[in-house]
């Protein structure tokens, strides 16, 4: 920070009205005479009368000359105030803060936000780009700062009014070009192109509490709020009451459908509004109060119908301007009956990532890039809204969030939206019967994610359990015997053979397999496990067929000489296997090898459990793919970027 010290304190007479005036701060260049409102500049040659300056417009600012605050441990006093006019209308205040240690600071106040900046000398050789070559959204490397400062606005300001002592040569109605920049962590800077080379002021956005002026805010605002009067429409005389009187630039008259300009608290008729386009009606009335996150209340003070035209089709949506005196402005966007709560974000917090952007560590995919047009307005607005006003609007999505960039030739604005369900909007405004949404909103979250996430978690758990169970399923062979069936009377005459005794353990499945030396023939075996103690029987059928040969396609086989069957666990004990068989080649003896095994891993249980558990997450995944397809079918970029 630079301590600017010019001249000592001195008293003189106003060159215009001869009233006594006093330059209190050594850094003061211009003093507004409190008697005749002439801007009096002190120079080496004496005092110059720079002309009359207008009265400061009542802006309902919580600040006033003489207020004392603290910043970085240093006390300051507000000793001067300049009021500037934006080229698109609207005013902002710049307060001159004289610090006890000699610092000179500027406290800019615009749309309820405060920015404290200090003159920043540039390093030797550093050159600020010309105003014309400044690119919106690009950083200005020449400015020494802890974080890159990117250009968010270029404009022309007109000095319209002043009060107190000003540390530069303020000429009434003089126009000057400037550029505003912002950086991460509320960093802020302004380049003043009225000087050559341009002067740079660097600082940050602050709250009044942070600079020791918090107490002034509430008392001042409360007093002013009580004194707010209703105004009359200059066209039809209808009574209009403004909710944000100090910030409103435009208001519509609900009685005669006129668009009115608000200039320093006075209304003037601009034009009759064009008829509303063929778009759905507003569903929320102006004046509706909604309670949002953290129980913060916002009042709906304005509503806009906007549209974009994509591939010849015009799409409409509504935007409601919300206002809370302590917080400022927010938006509630209503499109295809989907809702989004939208708040402004610092442009420096958004980083480009190819076609996409990153914000707060979250990647947002580009969704739409089209000119958005204001079709119709209703209520009051903090900017000079016009029907037909067009901006380039780019939407980036990361459901349930959406980032929007609105860009004109001179300004960029980023905003961050959060999807609200109909139920949330109903609850916020204590209403019912909101129309149901259709299609899929760009940032509408998929609601079936729970079943996908937890469904796959359950499948994972199943796999872990299956792996855990592997050591407990070691296969053991309890019988391996070869039996021989002698020649039979016919193919349907059954023959029975008993195996030797063997022992089965409890809680283990049992697999019986048989291998018969059949060639182009069949053998049908019924195997009975007989419990020697209880004489109870468990039966399985083991049909064996094996055919082979060759044809024009080569050799072929069908069936297998080995077949098995598995049963659940049986009570532990001694068992005998009774095999009853019939066969095609009954005239010849048939050797059959029978085996009985326990603890056989078959995977059937696992596959069945897996399939059952996979149904819901599988369906969920299918739904999600269809949902995303519908979402991106509305996009200009198809989600492939």
């Amino acid at each position: 920070m630079l301590a600017i010290r010019f001249m000592s304190v001195f008293q003189a007479n106003c060159p215009s009205c001869a009233a006594p005036i006093e330059f209190k701060a050594g850094s003061t260049i211009v003093l507004v005479c409190p008697f005749c409102r002439s801007a009096v500049a002190r120079t080496d040659r004496g005092l110059d009368d720079l002309g009359k300056v207008a009265d400061i417009a009542d802006s309902e600012s919580p600040l006033k000359l003489g207020l004392k605050g603290t910043f970085s441990g240093h006390r300051f006093e507000l000793t001067g105030r300049a009021q500037l006019k934006h080229e698109l209308g609207g005013f902002w205040d710049e307060w001159y803060a004289t610090f006890s240690n000699g610092w000179v600071g500027w406290l800019a106040e615009a749309q309820g936000k405060f920015y404290l900046t200090f003159y920043q000398p540039l390093p030797e050789g550093a050159q600020i780009p010309s105003l014309a070559s400044l690119q919106l959204g690009q950083p200005v490397e020449a400015i020494p700062a802890q974080t890159p400062l990117i250009v968010t606005e270029k404009g022309i300001a007109t000095s319209v009014a002043a009060d107190g002592e000003i540390p530069y040569k303020l000429t009434p109605n003089e126009k000057s070009s400037y550029a505003d920049l912002s950086g991460k962590g509320n960093a802020f800077a302004t380049i003043d192109y009225s000087m050559s080379p341009p002067w740079v002021f660097v600082g940050q956005q602050v709250s009044l509490e942070e600079i020791g002026l918090g107490a002034a805010k509430s008392a001042q605002r409360e007093a002013r709020r009580v004194s707010t009067d209703a105004m009359g429409c200059p066209n039809c005389g209808g009574a209009l009451e403004l909710a944000a009187q100090d910030k409103t630039e435009r208001v519509t008259c609900p009685y005669c459908n006129s668009l009115l300009d608000v200039n320093q608290g006075k209304l003037s008729w601009l034009k009759a509004l064009s008829p509303k386009p063929d778009a759905p009606d507003f569903v929320l009335p102006i004046g509706a109060v909604g309670t949002f996150k953290d129980d913060v209340q916002f009042k709906t003070i304005g509503a806009v119908v906007r549209s974009v035209t994509v591939e010849g089709t015009q799409y409409f949506w509504h935007e409601y301007l919300l206002y809370n005196p302590q917080i400022g402005f927010r938006w509630l966007v209503h499109s295809d009956n989907h809702w989004n709560f939208v708040e402004p974000v610092n442009a420096a917090d958004v980083a480009a990532d190819g076609k996409n952007v990153t914000f707060n560590g979250q990647k947002f995919k580009i969704f739409q890039d089209a000119p958005a047009i204001v079709e119709y307005v209703k209520g009051e607005f903090y900017w000079r809204v016009e029907q037909g006003e067009t901006v380039r609007a780019i939407d980036y999505v990361s459901p349930p969030m959406i980032l929007s960039l609105e860009q004109t030739n001179n300004e960029i604005n980023w905003s961050f939206g959060t999807y609200m369900t109909n139920a949330e909007v109903k609850k916020a405004f204590a209403v019912s019967d909101l129309p149901k949404p259709w299609s899929v909103a760009p940032n509408q979250p998929f609601t079936g994610g729970f079943y996908i996430k937890w469904g796959f978690a359950l499948l994972g758990l199943l796999c872990v359990v299956a792996i855990f169970m592997l050591p407990f399923s070691l296969k053991s062979k309890v019988l391996n015997e070869t039996v021989t069936f002698p020649p039979a009377a016919s193919a349907t005459t059954p023959q029975t053979i008993f195996s030797q005794q063997f022992e089965l353990k409890a809680n283990r499945n049992v697999r019986i397999s048989a291998n018969a030396n059949v060639a182009n023939a069949w053998a049908d075996l019924d195997a009975d496990l007989i419990n020697e103690q209880s004489q109870e029987v468990e039966s399985v059928n083991i049909p064996i067929e094996f055919y082979s040969g060759s044809d024009s396609d080569g050799a072929w086989t069908e069936g297998s000489p080995t077949t098995d069957a598995t049963v659940s666990s049986l009570p532990a004990g001694k068992y005998t296997l009774r095999v009853e068989g019939t066969r095609q080649t009954f005239q010849q003896p048939l050797q059959v090898n029978v085996q009985v095994e326990q603890n056989v891993s078959r995977g059937v249980n696992f596959c069945c459990a897996f399939l059952i558990l996979a149904i819901l997450p599988g369906l969920g995944l299918f739904r999600k793919i269809a949902f995303e397809k519908r979402r991106w079918s509305e996009s200009m970029f198809g989600g492939s970027s």
């Binding site: 209403v431 419990n531 468990e538 039966s539 069957a565 078959r602």
Partner: protein
């Protein structure tokens, strides 16, 4: 649009239903895993052969059936 004194009863009901369905889903899923673990531990076979059935479809062995 109708202004309501106390809103959200239907929405609350819907939220409760949603929560209940999710809970049921988790209980069902954990039940399947528990059944699989039990079957593996106790040697139960799903879709096995066995008994007098020649279709091989009785799922879980529930005791001896019949005798010869």
């Amino acid at each position: 649009m109708r202004k309501t004194g106390s809103t959200g009863n239907d929405d609350k009901q819907r939220t409760n239903d949603k929560t209940m369905l999710r809970t049921l889903f988790l209980i069902f899923g954990l039940g399947v895993i528990l059944a699989y673990t039990s079957a593996s531990w106790l040697g139960w076979e799903f879709a096995n052969a066995g008994s007098n059935s020649r279709l091989g479809m009785p799922f879980i062995y529930g005791g001896f059936r019949g005798g010869k």
